[in-house]
């Protein structure tokens, strides 16, 4: 009886076995069939996309001379698990490092806080971007250092010490770059300044990838499905800059020892022929391992060599601005070419005096431009802002004036294809209402008519003024890239932008600028080969005056428009005119005459003492 009772317990045991198996099958069902979450996690476990980097696009000047290319560099990688028994001293000597650096670097590699992807089984970066010379030295001894490997990569290389601000440089992406564009991963390179930055998308190309199988230690075990899903990298596009390298070289030579900028534009196309910002630096020093150190050094320099003054420097344009005033007054009917204003060593009215140099008086417009008469343009602005038949108020007149200035490309960024452009300042009615609490007249703001006071422009805007006059009333947004391989330029750089002044008025101003060269302030720009038009500027500021020149040549079918701005260079004729003339000669003739060459050498060797420059 008892035995029968006990033998029933086989059912309890059998049932529990059946229940366990059923529970386990249900569990299997939920794990394997209810969701594909686990399958996805398995793929991210085992499949690794290994990035293949495309070659960055090369950069040439407008005549096809190579400016920037890629050079092989070598990274030294170390696999911690394999580097046992390495003679540390020998290694350090071969690499030219000291043992303390070696030990610090090894500790950094192993520090999971600083190097989150650390695994002792996979190659870790030990030293980056060795040059070919450094590398060849090391390679001979490589067999003695188990666990150390060489990884080839490419770095940017520059053919000469020129155009640093235009070309810019590349550096490792920072967290903000990664945040902004998910193309980038930590350790990628990105254009930091200049064209390298503004054309980053074209230059960088498209990364390729190969999918590899990776084990739990991160070791690569082979290609997934024999590379069926791999993608080859697409190289970056090459760029042709509108820069003329010879012109750029001359400009940089002439600006040695000075602060300032030279910008030249081809008026018909808006292409920037040269863009010099002084002081500059050698872009070849901004590659490889020294970049960080060099960059820090430059950023601490009080002369601010990293600043691209051509687009970031906002200067009073001085008398070069008078051309824009003449155009405005003509268009608004304030003056005609025949209108004369008196000037007795300046503008004197109601106790206000704006000084001027000695010249015959009264003068009509053309000679007024030629001799750069201050009084003429002060009267012009005074009559424009005080004209109550055309404008109901000073404010309305001011707004009309401001609209003319903006249409000429002032007061706002022009839209050049370089990062960091500044807009300059063109005051408007609201600006003065605020500054003077509503009580101001043409007299209050009279100095803006001669490019002083509140008005500031960038050298690029001044050069663009020259291009606009050369074109008799229009310009194409200045740009530095002429061609992108396999891609059209942005329509911004092919469309004409017209000012609000009609071409006939421009002819008058051109006449005045020719007069300035032939018998006025720009006499030293006169030459036997072509007719030059120019306008000097002597911009007053706290220290010594800035020397400015704006011009173009030849008068008909102009090939080049130029702005020269030399900080504290004195009269416009001191530096601006001769430098501008030399630049135009170089571009139009393709070379300098022997006399000009001698002159260029003289100017190249002139330095201006800036003392303890701080601004």
């Amino acid at each position: 009886m008892a035995d029968v009772h006990l033998s029933n317990r086989k059912f309890v045991l059998g049932t529990s076995a059946v229940l366990v198996v059923i529970i386990y099958i249900v569990r299997l069902f939920t794990l394997q069939l209810m969701s594909d979450d686990y399958a996805r996690r398995a793929d991210s476990n085992a499949l690794m996309r290994r990035i293949q980097f495309p070659a960055r696009g090369a950069i040439t000047d407008r005549r096809g001379k190579l400016l920037v290319y890629n050079q092989p560099a070598y990274d030294i990688m170390v696999v911690m698990r394999e580097q046992v028994g390495v003679d540390t001293l020998d290694l350090c000597q071969s690499l030219g490092i000291d043992t303390t650096w070696y030990h610090r670097r090894m500790a950094e590699i192993k520090d999971r806080y600083r190097n989150p992807g650390y695994s002792p089984h996979t190659p870790q970066l030990f030293m980056s971007q060795l040059s070919v010379e450094e590398f060849s030295n090391f390679q001979e001894k490589l067999f003695r250092f188990p666990g150390f490997y060489i990884q080839k990569r490419s770095i940017r290389q520059y053919t000469g010490p020129y155009a640093a601000h235009i070309i810019g440089d590349v550096g490792e992406v920072n967290p903000a770059d990664i945040e902004a564009d998910d193309y980038y991963r930590s350790g990628d390179y990105i254009g930091k300044q200049g064209v390298e930055r503004s054309y980053e998308r074209q230059l960088r190309g498209i990364k390729g990838s190969e999918i590899v199988l990776r084990d739990v230690h991160g070791r690569i075990k082979g290609r997934y499905q024999d590379g069926r899903f791999d993608q080859r990298p697409i190289p970056g596009k090459n760029l042709v800059l509108s820069i003329d390298l010879e012109l750029q070289k001359l400009g940089e030579r002439l600006m040695r020892g000075k602060l300032g900028s030279i910008v030249a534009i081809e008026p018909a196309t808006g292409e920037i022929l040269c863009m010099v910002s002084a002081p500059s630096y050698d872009p070849r020093t901004m590659v490889g391992r020294q970049r960080g150190k060099k960059h820090r050094e430059l950023s601490l320099d009080p002369m601010k060599p990293l600043l691209n003054r051509a687009i970031m420097g906002q200067y009073p344009p001085g008398s070069t601005f008078k051309t824009s005033q003449a155009l405005t007054f003509l268009q608004e009917g304030i003056i005609t070419p025949q209108t004369s204003f008196s000037c007795s060593h300046g503008f004197h009215f109601k106790g206000l005096t704006v000084g001027c140099h000695g010249h015959p008086s009264p003068l009509p417009l053309v000679p007024a431009i030629g001799t750069s008469c201050n009084g003429y343009f002060c009267w012009g602005l005074y009559y424009m802002l005080g004209n109550r038949t055309q404008f109901h108020s000073t404010q309305e007149a001011m707004t009309c004036w401001k609209d003319h200035m903006v249409a000429m490309g002032f007061g706002y960024k022009l839209g050049v294809d370089l990062p960091g452009e500044k807009r300059g300042l063109i005051p408007n009615a609201a600006y003065y209402d605020k500054a003077y609490k509503g009580s101001w007249t043409g007299l209050t703001v009279i100095s803006i008519s001669i490019g002083q006071g509140e008005v500031t422009l960038t050298p690029l805007q001044i050069a663009n003024l020259g291009a606009t006059i050369a074109n008799r009333g229009w310009f194409i947004t200045p740009h530095i890239v002429r061609e992108i391989q396999g891609e059209d330029l942005d329509t911004l750089y092919t469309q004409r932008r017209y000012t609000r002044v009609s071409p006939v008025h421009y002819e008058t101003v051109v006449e005045g600028m020719q007069r300035a060269v032939e018998g006025g302030t720009c006499r030293s720009a006169k030459n036997p080969w072509y007719v030059t038009c120019g306008k000097t500027g002597t911009a007053q500021n706290r220290g010594h005056d800035h020397s400015v020149f704006m011009g173009f040549a030849p008068r008909d079918n102009p090939q080049i428009a130029i702005a020269v701005y030399v900080e504290n260079g004195g009269w416009g004729a001191n530096y601006g005119v001769p430098l501008g003339a030399l630049m135009m000669e170089q571009y139009i003739n393709g070379h300098l005459s022997p006399e000009s060459e001698a002159k260029a050498e003289t100017f190249a060797n002139k330095t201006i003492d800036y003392g303890s420059y701080a601004r």
Partner: protein, 520 residues
């Protein structure tokens, strides 16, 4: 009968070929899994290179071949030698286990491996069949009864605990725990079910309580562990009342008067399910709905655990009162069970709380509740990913990525079932589970058809050991059981465990094959 006597009885006709078939199928599945787990990416996939010596797959083939030879040899032995030499074999293996830590070399902290030539053997794997034999021998003695004999019970427990203790000394706690499974056999042989039940519930309290100790109910301050354990106690008490104090049960076992019993039974059930369970629900409900929230994200404003404990205590007193007043002392025992349950839970809890952090971690690791500190739950997460990625049909033989690229630790030993899940998918892994179930049910069937206690006890030992291994190993891989490192029979890599399981199974097949001669 005459015709049968004339026909010569050979081992080939009396052997249970169905079990042999299951054994061979499991071995085949097992070898495929080893191939999947050990295959190095990029190696040739043909059968010759898989079978070549020097690789793990080749070695496993050697183990499988030698196991089959071992099985055949056992089948050719006289079945009486197991009976005769049971004590001798047991004593010899105890000595070997005792000597092992001194002969062993340390493998990952385990002192259980003896090196013989180029092979390593784990004596613990062979102690299972020896213990099964000695239990079968002892329990098949003349007039042996387990029910009502504390002495016999104690001797059985001693025979089980002796090898366990020696294996614990070798730091193989997982292998030692396997011996607890023999309680299943003792249950079949007459050990009161309440003992088995008490043991299982004690383990459940500790594991559940510690596992959920740090999970808070409704983001409040009440530990889910305490709540669950209190609920479990009440449910278990209700179950025990139903199983042991039902009027029909009492009547059959002459343990009380039927009319009074029916009344008391109703009273006790109402107290348990109505008052205790309802009271707990009421406390949680009131706290949740009527008390203002202290923190915005907390839906239980204060710790209700003390109230739950008070309710449990009240239930114990109530059952004591019912038992004593009605003279049905089973209620007193049930009250003692409930009290013991709370005592076990709280003493384990207090003990663990007062341990130093590293000791606490060690206890938690031992219970499989925590893994080594630098990868909590890593193994089980990886194994779930591997299995889950298999889908319905799996990735195919040698095509798994997770197991192949060594994401799953111990993949060719304790976590071998991952490979089945990943490469054979749901169909394959369910098939393996069904094969194991068939084997287990077949073992019960074979054990029950033994004419003598010796064969039946041994058969149930075999069943218990296999059941425990499958339950724990596959449950662990599926994330349902704590991580206890024991192999999956016929699947996990290694000669010792394969030989051990083959010995265990084939001795039973040999005993079974001899049942008819013994009958005569």
């Amino acid at each position: 009968m005459a015709a049968m006597r004339d026909k010569p009885k050979t081992i080939f006709t009396s052997i249970d070929w169905f079990t042999i078939l299951l054994y061979l199928l499991l071995l085949a599945f097992g070898w495929m899994s080893i191939c999947g787990a050990c295959y190095e990416y990029g190696e040739p996939k043909d059968i010759l290179s898989l079978a070549s010596l020097g690789t793990r797959t080749g070695m496993q083939l050697v183990w499988i071949g030698s196991s089959m030879v071992l099985g055949a040899v056992i089948l050719m032995l006289d079945d009486r030698i197991f009976d005769t030499f049971a004590y001798f074999i047991y004593a010899a293996l105890l000595l070997l286990l005792l000597a092992t830590p001194f002969l062993a070399h340390d493998i990952k902290g385990s002192m259980s491996w003896i090196k013989i030539g180029s092979f390593s053997l784990q004596p613990a794997e062979f102690a299972k069949f020896a213990t099964a034999l000695v239990l079968a021998k002892f329990m098949s003695g003349y007039g042996f009864r387990l029910e009502g004999s504390w002495r016999n019970m104690a001797i059985c427990m001693a025979l089980i605990v002796a090898p366990m203790a020696l294996i614990v000394l070798q730091k193989e706690t997982g292998s030692a725990l396997v011996y607890f499974s023999l309680l299943l056999m003792l249950y079949r042989e007459g050990m009161p079910g309440s003992v088995l039940f008490t043991g299982i519930s004690a383990v459940t309290y500790v594991v559940v309580g510690l596992r959920f100790a740090d999970v808070m109910v409704l983001s409040g301050t009440t530990s889910l562990g305490v709540l669950l354990v209190m609920l479990l106690i009440v449910v278990f008490v209700a179950g025990l009342i139903f199983a042991y104090a039902r009027p029909s049960v009492l009547q059959r076992e002459n343990a009380g008067e039927s009319r009074a019993a029916a009344h008391t039974y109703r009273l006790a059930l109402i107290s348990t399910l109505g008052l205790a369970l309802g009271g707990m629900a009421f406390v949680v409900g009131v706290a949740h709905f009527w008390f203002p929230r202290v923190q915005p994200m907390s839906w239980l404003p204060f710790d209700v655990a003390p109230l739950l404990v008070v309710i449990c205590g009240a239930l114990i007193l109530r059952l004591l009162w019912i038992g004593l007043s009605s003279h049905i002392y089973r209620y007193v025992y049930i009250a003692l069970f409930a009290f013991g349950s709370m005592a076990v839970f709280f003493s384990a809890h207090t003990l663990v709380d007062h341990l130093a952090p590293h000791q606490r971690t060690r206890v938690m690791v031992l219970l499989g509740l925590e893994e080594d500190p630098n990868g909590v739950g890593y193994n089980q997460i990886q194994s779930k990913i591997a299995i889950g990625s298999g889908g319905l049909e799996g990735k195919g033989f040698l095509n798994g990525t997770q197991t192949k690229l060594k994401y799953v630790p111990e993949q060719e030993t304790d976590f071998i079932f991952c490979t089945v899940g990943e490469e054979q998918g749901f169909i394959g892994s369910a098939a393996v589970l069904v094969l194991f179930l068939l084997l287990l049910l077949r073992l019960i069937y074979l054990a029950e058809r033994q004419p003598y206690a010796f064969g039946r006890v041994y058969g149930y030992c075999v069943f218990s050991v296999f059941f425990f291994h499958v339950l724990i190993n596959i449950g662990m891989v599926l994330g349902l059981m704590p991580v206890i490192g024991i192999p999956l029979p016929f699947f996990s890599y290694g000669g010792s465990s394969l030989w051990g399981f083959t010995l265990l199974l084939f001795i039973f097949l040999r005993i079974d094959a001899g049942r008819i001669r013994m009958q005569r």
